[in-house]
């Protein structure tokens, strides 16, 4: 299985994901495979251990219907609380900003403000309402985001948005922490008479026992 890993353009191997046989076709690309989506990934000086990309962005050309599942941990991180609040009010969003390095969990009011500031800054650059931006964070619990570094990187991150496969790969790498592989997959299927594409990216290696609702 290890031999099946393809080298990625971002110097991180990709997970060998093989989908089961079915009325679908596995296709290249992850989070940008579906129509209307662009992504980017960049090194924003958030990580302490390496210079891998650590800031990812996924944007939809138009308002997208959104669903979310979230940890049921009572110590839910600031971005989780932020997203839940957004999804209680709205069923459509345009962008998801994800940082690695710091989890922004157990960071109190300051952490909550950091999430608001990041969403607000990105919304301003994209020219969309702040309520159309969702946030995810991963990394060390108890540490605030290196916000200045993150905010400084947003214009570049937005300028790099693309629907190509490399951008999807960069985004998938940017969300990793202790992962040894990046994780992306996409498929194409026919529903009715229409060609539908579903893709995605994920990260996770330790502290993994999700109980989301």
């Amino acid at each position: 299985v290890l031999e099946q890993m393809a080298p990625s353009t971002t110097s991180m191997p990709e997970a060998p994901i093989v989908l089961p046989e079915g009325p679908w076709k596995q296709i290249p690309g992850g989070v940008t495979a579906a129509g209307g989506f662009k992504a980017s990934g960049a090194y924003a000086r958030l990580r302490s251990a390496s210079q891998k990309p650590d800031l990812a962005l996924v944007v939809c050309d138009h308002d997208a219907v959104v669903a979310g599942t979230f940890t049921t941990n009572l110590m839910a991180a600031a971005p989780v609380l932020y997203c839940k609040k957004i999804l209680e009010k709205s069923d459509r969003v345009r962008a998801v900003l994800i940082n690695a390095g710091q989890a922004n969990a157990a960071t109190g009011d300051a952490g909550h403000q950091d999430s608001l500031d990041c969403a607000s800054a990105l919304a301003k650059i994209l020219g969309i309402p702040m309520e159309s931006v969702l946030i995810q964070s991963t990394g060390v619990i108890g540490q605030r985001i290196k916000k200045d570094n993150l905010l400084d990187s947003l214009p570049y991150l937005v300028s790099e948005l693309s629907s190509d496969i490399e951008s999807a790969n960069k985004a998938a790498v940017a969300i990793t922490t202790t992962d040894i592989v990046s994780k992306s997959v996409a498929l194409e299927t026919i529903i009715g008479n229409t060609k539908v594409r579903i893709g995605g990216m994920a990260k996770g290696s330790g502290m993994i026992h999700p109980n989301m609702a």
Binding site: V1, G22, C60, A67, F70, V196, G200, G206, I208, P210
Partner: protein, 220 residues
Amino acid sequence: TLLGVITCDAAVTSDIWRTMVKTAVMRSFNQITVDGDSSTNDTILALASGACGGDLIARGDSFEGSQLQRALDVVMQGLAKSVAWDGEGATCLIAVKVSGAETEAAAATIARTVASSSLTKAAIHGRDPNWGRIACAAGYAGVKFDPSQLSIHLGQFLLMEGGQPQPFDRSAASHYLKVVGEEHGTVQINICVGNGTGCSEAWGCDLSYEYVRINAEYTT
């Protein structure tokens, strides 16, 4: 921490999309485990753009709704399994399939409990076909079943049937675990708990010395 972003270009109503995503998460990301710790940040966000055109999917129980649900399940399961496969320090993915339960939820509970068992995970890392730990974990899952109907397979090896331990080639079973570990492949555990129609899967990984090394010094 588990994070994920799913994108889709189907045209689907908000309430149906949310129901589908919840179902798919229950069948995928909520069925994986690496170390039993639930993060403060676990989040899956799923966006549907409608860019592919086509008729709006407004019913989950329609043919088109079922097709979309199945495709969503497959994408999320592919990603979820890759997270378990990449568990810190892991040398293999552990796939636990449970059948014969009263409901899908009951089967899912048993499967994930077995996948979460530290002793089962450690035995697999040690290439020790110590199947009693699998039976033990199934028993404390909190789901009632008749122990006299329990059967367990480890790979192709039948270890228990009708609640009775079966003779098996211990060294061959150990070799199976060794080969899978060397390939970073998948150890398959199949459990049947009765005659019900409920079946489900869970995915985990072995528990290694390396896991402790990684996490003992995470911030220092």
